[in-house]
Assembly symmetry: C2
């Protein structure tokens, strides 16, 4: 009988958001008419930009005509037209990328989960806590040793490196999911220095970069000196352009990123990752890539920024409610997330149930993101304006009672 | 410094088809005007069906309107409308599937490569040789012990089980890539009996089922009794509906498929795989799923069968050329592949270079698929009719010289 990978038995049975969905479904079964407002899962609600719709339709039409039909991509790493668009976007932050340093994917989650395949199971992985569960789960699935850097009230939920601790792989997410905190250039430089001192590789999740407003906060880790020698960056159009249901992201693996094997052989990380993806991934749908490239056109950027501004205004409304209620929080600035301290000393899941049962508002229990999330809670700004206002009125009324 | 997964160093540096692409590109650099005909990589050339184009355009439009916009899929396993369409398709073969036994993906290659994550590295993996390189590479990447079942001239390139050999995981592909051979019901029953005797799991790749014409050859392994207790089936729309550039497939994990852990715990394979995918995959683009569902409509099936008939006619043309030349081959029937014995005792790569240099025809060296492929060569029927005829005329002329 095949032996299963028993590391799976050590995981929570279900992914956090599947657990939340179950609780919500059971609530809706009992209360089918409840005016539910979802501020839980980090999903967007505004439609994709008109330029993206048009580009995708055009791509679909090309697929239906022999002369313009596209089969397998030669490289499976993304069409040059999209890579050029992405490289052009990075130029705006002062970052130069070669096209072969960019790999287009079906969303950051896949690469974020799969990247660990190229590393030995015997590595020390450092993850800031709380964190996006994929970092933890994908490493637990391979039985890796995980150490945590605490993001907590004391450091504004932005963990900094501890030079007395060694790590080989480091996960950073900025602006952070779930805490909404964002590293400044100076803070990232500290992480890069730490990575270099440890000869470690940083896996940098920039999925929320489009929400950055503070000029001190870099959009890409490569804006900071030295990052190309120690960091892989992952980004996605999910939050940038509402692509959660379209599925397109990209990973940057700089050609300068090399490691030495146990025999002293020099190995390029890009080549290793390419070998992994060459065998286990076949590229992104052509019409999806067309839509993705449209995001980076002048008109596309204008259209997506309107949506981002809408979400930013929602974030400001939530943040103001917290201010009015005297509730502590991080995020809401540079981020679509508001990470708040549960009132009345409630636990994360108690507060989840409280909001769901009392006012039919769904958030995400901070505990689901790690031990430092205990007693904290995540709200997202991705909802409707009217629903965000309504939810905040309900919260205000409930917590003022 | 992070230790890399050194199993990667034991792999060929590049995926077979990337090597071929390099040789072809270098030939084209030297001979920019060569009238190249590609019969190498198994890529289709006919455009996707009109119903698929329309469905995708409609899906794209829905993504651009707030009321019909789709973000993350709740389950990430495919929309019910598509799963119902797939289940309906299986009904035609007499196979009943529950919707939660079907998982929609971005193509069979991804699942085929990733499925091994749920199994311990310490399993004996049986692969028929020659084989699609993904089976071998994805297991070598985890350092698993691979044993091979020989597909060779003697058995018509359709390996059968050897009861004296034990395996835990078994890869079967029928109709076979690269050999074009296809298992009959009776042959599959032998494999199922072998799997049951070994308490093994079969990973069954049905990517070429749409090419089956022989009623003795099942489209799905589940047409054969007992398969639901021992087999995972993977299929794709790549070859069925020309989706190589659209990226959509599906994996069937029957709920009856369970294993026992070392502690005697009963574990459902569907649940394990769901846990893996829940952390490392986020579902398929909604408009792509719309296009995929259109394949299974009455009109869709009619349109794709016209394309398949076209390729089948190409296969017949290639097969007839081999007959005329007295060259031995398998496939060409139930399959878009013709697997032929290299003439004049040439090696696979010599014959590859010979066809490329002399007549600008690109095929695939059998050796790239495993040791039993030495001296054999794969041609595909996915090309243009005119180019297929032209290539066969060139081959006939060259080999009659």
């Amino acid at each position: 009988m095949p032996k299963i990978n028993e590391n799976f038995l050590k995981l929570e049975k279900n992914y956090l958001f599947i657990n939340i969905a179950k609780k919500v479904n059971s609530f809706l079964k009992k209360n089918p008419d409840a005016p539910l407002i979802r501020m839980g899962i980090g999903d967007v609600t505004l439609p994709i930009a008109p330029v993206c719709v048009e580009a995708m339709k055009k791509g679909a039409e090309e697929m239906g005509v022999k002369e313009t039909f596209k089969g397998y991509e030669d490289s499976g790493t993304g069409y040059d037209f999209l890579k050029k668009a992405i490289a052009g976007y990075y130029k705006k932050f002062g970052v130069s990328l070669e096209l072969d340093e960019i790999r287009v994917n079906d969303g950051a989650k896949s690469d974020c989960g799969n990247i660990v395949d190229i590393f030995d199971d015997n590595n020390i992985v450092l993850i800031t806590d709380p964190a996006y569960p994929v970092y933890v789960d994908s490493n637990k699935m391979s039985g890796r040793t995980i150490i945590y850097a605490d993001s907590n009230e004391a450091n504004g939920f932005a963990a900094m490196p501890d030079s007395s601790v060694h790590a080989d792989l480091i996960y950073l997410c900025s602006p952070n999911n779930p805490t909404g905190s964002a590293y400044t250039r100076a803070q990232l430089k500290e992480w890069i220095d730490y990575a270099k001192a440890n000869e470690a590789i940083i896996i940098y999740d920039a999925a929320y970069e489009a929400f950055i407003t503070d000029p001190e906060v870099p959009h890409s880790i490569y804006e900071v000196n030295g990052a190309k020698e120690c960091a892989i960056e992952m980004c996605s159009l999910s939050k940038t352009a509402g692509f959660t249901g379209m599925r397109c992201g990209y990973t940057v693996v700089p050609s300068a990123l090399h490691v030495t094997t146990s025999n002293g052989e020099d190995v390029s990380i890009a080549q290793l990752w390419g070998r992994r993806q060459g065998s286990k991934f076949n590229g992104v749908s052509y019409p999806v890539q067309c839509a993705a490239a449209a995001v980076f056109t002048e008109e596309g950027l204008k259209q997506i920024h309107e949506n981002i501004a809408y979400y930013q205004e929602n974030a400001a409304i939530i943040a103001k409610t917290m201010d009015d209620l005297g509730i502590q929080y991080t995020g809401g600035k540079n981020s679509p997330y508001i990470w708040l301290k549960c009132p009345k000393g409630m636990s994360s899941w108690d507060f989840f149930d409280y909001l769901l049962e009392k006012i039919a508002v769904v958030g995400t229990p901070g505990e689901g993101f790690g031990k430092n999330g205990k007693g904290w809670f995540r709200l997202t700004a991705f909802g409707d304006r009217e629903k965000t206002i309504e939810a905040m009125e309900r919260v205000k009324k409930l917590l003022s009672e």
